[in-house]
């Protein structure tokens, strides 16, 4: 990145997939599949996360996510939400690969409530098994520069440290560590989880991350479609601000208007 990249050419790439939107959104927690579709459309996202769950055999003709969020239009990123062991995560993603043929996946192995903090030992174990099995692993992880580096060295195609616990809406609780991860990474870094409103998405982009992943901030807004638009604008604004380079912080005033030619 040379800092002069025109906005229209500003794209990012993960495991050979190129995206122009730097906003990745989840498809969960909406009131209806119609609302899901409208919010995702408004967000401008090209990649969406999806969960893998048992089909309801008593209602096999119930509307399915694919009918509203078509996989030929959006890149599906199957996740392992709800998995608390490496084994469950690997089984889930093998099923996802069979259901959709996708190798690009989101790995998350979570610790117990109330924080659902990433279980890093189990995440390492699952990442190793998945990479060996041919998956391209985008990995949810702790805001820990050593863990992020280790996941990158193992072969994960993107690292996704949390801003704050999943669904908490607390924003970026540790921007310094996120920045450290971004500065040291050779793979894309996405801030995943914790973002609650547009300014926090912009802040993540200003730190220099490649993209932002969020779900509840849109789905749990009073007006999800409007918040989706806000997030789109915020991610673009934050990206521009990062590329533009912010002015230095001064601890004294520095007048913007000329001090010469004042009337007397």
């Amino acid at each position: 990145m040379d800092g002069m990249t025109p906005a229209q050419d500003d794209s990012w790439e993960v495991a050979g997939h190129r995206f122009h939107s730097r906003l990745v959104v989840g498809t969960g927690r909406y009131k209806s599949l119609e609302e899901t579709a409208a919010a995702i459309e408004a967000s401008g996202a090209e990649m969406v996360t999806v969960a893998v769950r048992r089909v309801n055999l008593s209602d096999p003709s119930a509307p399915m996510l694919q009918d509203f969020v078509p996989p030929d239009r959006y890149t599906y990123l199957p996740n392992t939400a709800g998995c608390h062991t490496a084994k469950e995560a690997v089984r889930t993603l093998r099923l996802a690969r069979e259901a959709g043929g996708w190798n690009l996946v989101k790995l998350e192995v979570l610790g117990p409530p109330p924080f659902l903090y990433p279980d890093m030992p189990a995440t390492f174990e699952a990442a190793e098994a998945l990479i060996k099995d041919g998956f391209q692993v985008m990995v949810y992880c702790a805001d820990d520069p050593l863990a992020a580096k280790r996941l990158e060295e193992m072969g994960c195609v993107a690292v996704m440290p949390l801003g704050a616990p999943i669904g908490s809406g607390l924003g970026l609780t540790n921007p310094f560590m996120l920045r450290s991860i971004i500065e040291n990474a050779k793979v894309p870094v996405l801030v995943d989880a914790g973002i609650g409103t547009a300014s926090e998405a912009a802040q993540a982009m200003e730190l220099g991350c490649d993209a932002v992943l969020l779900n509840s901030a849109i789905a749990h807004a009073r007006e999800p479609v409007r918040m989706a638009r806000a997030m789109k604008a915020a991610v673009e604004a934050g990206r521009h601000a990062y590329l533009a380079g912010r002015m230095p912080r001064n601890y004294a005033a520095d007048a913007s208007s000329p001090m010469t030619g004042l009337i007397r």
């Binding site: 969960g28 927690r29 899901t36 999943i166």
Partner: protein, 78 residues
């Protein structure tokens, strides 16, 4: 109605599907079971006894007593 699951003969075959016990009248190919369940095969994936069954093998996979099936699809998630 003859042939319904609830009236299966004593020789019926018990399997588990998505954690629920089911009784089948006889052994049958997985493809038949999925068709009878009314599922859109393009949108699901199947694990049998913790092993993925590739779509190409549905027709040749004969269900056996005690089989544990997991049938999944994509839903909204973050």
């Amino acid at each position: 109605m003859p042939g319904t699951l609830s009236q299966a003969p004593p020789s019926a075959m018990a399997i588990t599907v998505n954690g629920e016990a089911r009784s089948l009248p006889a052994s049958l190919p997985l493809s038949d079971f999925l068709a009878q369940a009314g599922l859109d095969l393009r949108k699901v994936a199947v694990e049998r006894n913790e092993e993925i069954v590739p779509r190409s093998a549905y027709a040749t996979t004969l269900l056996e007593p005690g089989d544990q099936l997991e049938i999944v699809h994509f839903i909204g998630g973050g």
